[in-house]
């Protein structure tokens, strides 16, 4: 228990700092790298929660594909890759207020709702994290959403090609 808590806190702090970095850095490539840190941290949290399959899918898809896509996007839009650019528009303060306000509301709500409930990593929980279990659920209970999502992926693929086509 203690080890998990310690691990959680280290990862959580890293993630937090990295997230703030994503939204505040002046270097766009740095932002992408900070995003990688956040995504990796999320994957670590998944493992801590016993969801191994999801954790590896996260690493594979997000860090492997999505971040690469981001980097390509940065390059293709000739984003200023020098270190110093002003990326913020002029609503920083209101946005900060909104974000903090939202955070406050959420935290209050969560504390109020869930109090001190604990997560016990017993066999049942761990069993849910297994690949076989997840696959089982996908192809049995959620087969229809699964097919729909695959259609969506196809549409997104074709759509991206069509949109970005240069003609």
């Amino acid at each position: 228990m203690v080890a998990q808590n310690v691990a959680f806190w280290i990862v959580a702090v890293a993630m937090g700092l990295a997230a703030i970095g994503v939204v505040r850095t002046r270097n766009i490539v740095h932002a992408a790298l900070y995003l990688v840190v956040v995504l990796a941290g999320v994957a670590a949290q998944y493992i801590l929660l016993g969801a191994e399959f999801i954790a590896w899918v996260q690493v594979l898809i997000y860090i492997g594909a999505v971040v690469i896509l981001f980097l390509f996007g940065i390059m293709l839009t000739r984003a200023p890759m020098g270190g110093d650019s002003e990326f913020d528009n002029n609503q920083r303060f209101p946005a900060a207020v909104a974000a903090v306000f939202l955070l406050g509301v959420l935290v209050t709500l969560l504390v109020d709702a869930f109090g001190n409930q604990k997560i016990k990593l017993d066999a049942a929980v761990l069993a849910t994290g297994k690949t076989a279990t997840v696959g089982d659920a996908i192809f049995r209970q959620y087969v229809v959403p699964f097919e729909v999502v695959s259609m969506l992926l196809l549409a997104a693929l074709v759509g991206a090609v069509v949109i970005a086509r240069r003609d």
């Binding site: 528009n89 609503q91 209101p94 909104a98 939202l102 209050t108 709500l109």
Partner: protein, 685 residues
């Protein structure tokens, strides 16, 4: 014809319309229609006379046969049956219980007038074919003559005072039209206006008199009014007022003093018009009114009592002033005009002294010889003096050239002067006898003086026109037949008409047939006074003698030569007469201008300061209201609308800032709202 007398009246009216529409196209330009119509009317009038005589005879025969049936009126020993006039009337229009009728009232007076009017009118029509030949408005002249005859007949047969008034006004209108026949000359139009306005002044009295008699008697019917006036229950005050007002009407229309000034000026019209209207017919309308409504005058002025009454006095004054003025005229028509005024004075005085028969008889005879004299004057001017009427300048010695005209004119003058046995003698004598025997001796004397003057001025006139040397510029010759034949006819009548009422010869046709024996006051029928007759004849002879003495001699008598130059009194007298007693100056210069001036000034002041002020004030008020409304519109309403629009625009300007078009701004707002909702949810659940 007694029951259908309206035909006689309407024939001239029809002729008027026909002449207006067809006259110009006919070969004699409409005079044929006029002559035929008038001849027809005249014949029918003669028929009416005959029928009336028969009617009265039957009534009298019936009375004699049956004794004392019906009321009888005693007339100096003779008794005559009561003969009601034959009245036919249709309702013209009705107002509640008041019926206004139009129709005919036929009695002796009416048939006599019918005869006279149609006869003289017919002769004038014939005369005018030659006299007015080549006139610029020949057809309209005949149309106007027909209209006049119709109006006079309408007046004469009127059964009620309203129809009489209508006829009265119409003859006034026709007189205006005919006097101003040659209106291109300003003097003629002025004369026509003067005639119309002067008679109009008298008409005020007539209208008031009609109203008063209506309220007294309760009816407009003439018979009814007379009956009321003679009844014992008549209101004497109303009768006096009514008689006085009617007398004013008579004064205006019949040229009595003081409203006589229009008659001489009316001579500006064509001579046939003067003969018809201003000698024989229209001017006697006043006398006719007096004769018709005699009951009112009898009871109003107490004529039966003798002494003095306004009617007699005015008539007497008129006799003298008319005759005096006739002496100083150089225009032959003016002499005859003043003579007419004087003779009308005789008629009115006759009515005033109770000589109803005498006045009406004089009307009858006067019509003939005065028309004769006027037509004769017209003949003289037409053929003798080259269309001039000036005796002194253009006439003289014409008896050699115009014998017919001379002899007929002489007969007319003799009749006018009252030389027996011509017509004027009998009628004038009747009046004088009644005056003398009725308690009006003064007026008898006045009448004799008037007779003297009449004979004298006619002698002067005859001398200047027909004797001496010809002073004119034309080629005098006798007039054509159309002119001379009427003269001869009238001369015959002037000689013999008097025998209709020649009492010593046993002829009393007027008393028998003309005098009304119904609703009529007990007038005096005088005995024939041989003494008075002789006196008047002597007076007349003396006048003629004096006249011959003064004017027929080759040179003027020494004592009278240049009298007006030597004697300032004589000169003043002469000037006074020549200026017609300065009456015209009084009327026009003083009265009219005096009334006109201030009234005009006051009217002008009112117009400028009161009426115009009102108009201006209204205008200004309207303008200021408009200005105020404009202000309100601009400042209040428009301001309101402008503000509304402006604020809407401004708020729009504010609100559009929300639509930044920037995605992240929208996202910010959304997230904020979500947070707020969540908070609300948290708090309220």
């Amino acid at each position: 014809m007694l029951d259908a007398a309206w035909i006689i009246v309407l024939i001239p009216a029809l002729s008027f319309v026909l002449i207006l529409f067809f006259g110009k196209k006919l070969p004699r330009q409409g005079s044929e229609i006029g002559i035929v119509a008038l001849a027809t009317s005249f014949v029918l009038s003669c028929v009416a006379v005959v029928q009336w005589v028969q009617y009265v005879d039957e009534a009298n025969a019936g009375k004699e046969g049956l004794g004392a049936i019906g009321k009888n009126l005693l007339f100096a020993g003779k008794e005559y049956a009561e003969v009601e006039p034959i009245v036919h009337s249709i309702t013209w229009w009705q107002n509640g219980a008041m019926k206004f009728g139009v129709g005919t009232q036929i009695d002796g007076l009416a048939v006599m007038m019918l005869f006279v009017v149609t006869f003289i009118s017919l002769l004038v029509h014939i005369y005018s074919t030659a006299y007015m030949k080549g006139d610029v408005r020949f057809t309209y002249f005949y149309a106007a003559l027909s209209l006049f005859t119709f109006s006079m007949l309408l007046l004469v047969v009127a059964p009620n005072t309203l129809q009489l008034l209508v006829g009265w006004e119409l003859v006034g209108l026709c007189s205006f039209m005919l006097i101003g026949h040659w209106w291109e000359e300003g003097a003629n139009s002025n004369a026509a206006l003067k005639a119309f306005l002067t008679t109009r002044t008298g008409d005020i009295g007539l209208m008031i008199g009609i109203i008063v008699t209506f309220f007294a008697a309760g009816t407009f019917n003439i018979v009814g009014i007379n009956q009321y006036a003679l009844s014992s229950g008549a209101d004497h005050t109303l009768m006096v007022v009514g008689a006085s007002c009617l007398l004013i009407g008579i004064i205006g229309k019949s040229g009595q003093f003081p409203l006589h000034t229009w008659l001489p000026d009316a001579m500006a019209g064509p001579t046939p018009v003067s003969a018809l209207i201003h000698a024989a017919t229209m001017v006697v309308a006043g006398v006719y009114l007096g004769a018709r409504l005699y009951g009112v005058f009898w009871s109003g002025f107490n004529i039966g009592d003798g002494g003095f009454n306004p009617m007699a006095i005015i008539g007497a004054i008129t006799i003298i002033i008319g005759a005096a003025l006739a002496f100083v005229q150089t225009d032959i028509k003016k002499v005859l005009a003043y003579s007419t005024i004087s003779q009308l004075g005789y008629m009115v005085m006759g009515l005033g002294v109770g000589a109803w028969v005498g006045a009406v008889f004089h009307l009858f005879t006067h019509a003939f010889f005065k028309a004769l004299l006027f037509l004769g004057a017209g003949s003289v001017s037409h053929s003798g003096s080259h269309h001039s009427f000036d005796m002194k300048k253009d006439m003289g010695g014409l008896r050699k050239y115009m014998p017919i005209t001379f002899w007929t004119f002489l007969i007319g003058s003799a009749a006018l002067a009252g030389i027996a046995p011509l017509a004027g003698f009998w009628s004038k004598d009747e009046i004088l006898a009644t005056a003398g025997q009725g308690g009006y001796e003064v007026f008898a004397i006045v009448g004799l003086v008037g007779a003297f003057l009449t004979a004298a001025y006619m002698t002067r006139c005859v001398y200047l026109t027909f004797f001496g040397e010809y002073r004119g510029h034309g080629q005098p010759h006798e007039s054509p037949k159309a002119i001379t034949v009427p003269l001869i006819v009238l001369a015959v009548f002037s000689v013999f008409a008097g025998f209709a009422q020649a009492v010593p010869l046993g002829l009393e046709k007027f008393v028998e047939y003309v005098e009304p024996h119904f609703a009529f006051p007990p007038v005096l029928v005088p005995e024939f006074d041989y003494g008075l007759a002789a006196t008047s004849l002597i007076v007349v002879a003396a006048a003629i003698g004096v006249g011959c003495f003064l004017w027929f001699r080759k040179e003027e008598v020494g004592a009278f030569k240049d009298l007006t130059r030597r004697s300032s009194l004589a000169n003043a007298g002469y000037t006074f007469l020549v200026n017609k007693y300065y009456l015209d100056d009084l009327y026009e210069g003083v009265i009219v201008t005096g009334i006109k001036g201030p009234i005009a000034r006051v009217s002008y002041w009112i117009n400028q300061n009161v009426i115009d002020a009102i108009v201006k004030g209204t205008g200004l008020a309207a303008r200021s209201i408009a200005g105020g409304t404009y202000r309100v519109d601009q400042d209040v309403l428009d301001a309101g609308y402008n503000t509304l629009a402006r604020e809407t625009g401004a708020s729009g300007g504010l609100l559009r800032r929300v639509q930044t078009g920037r995605l992240q701004w929208y996202a910010l707002v959304m997230f904020f709202s979500v947070g707020a909702f969540a908070l609300a949810l948290v708090i309220f659940s």
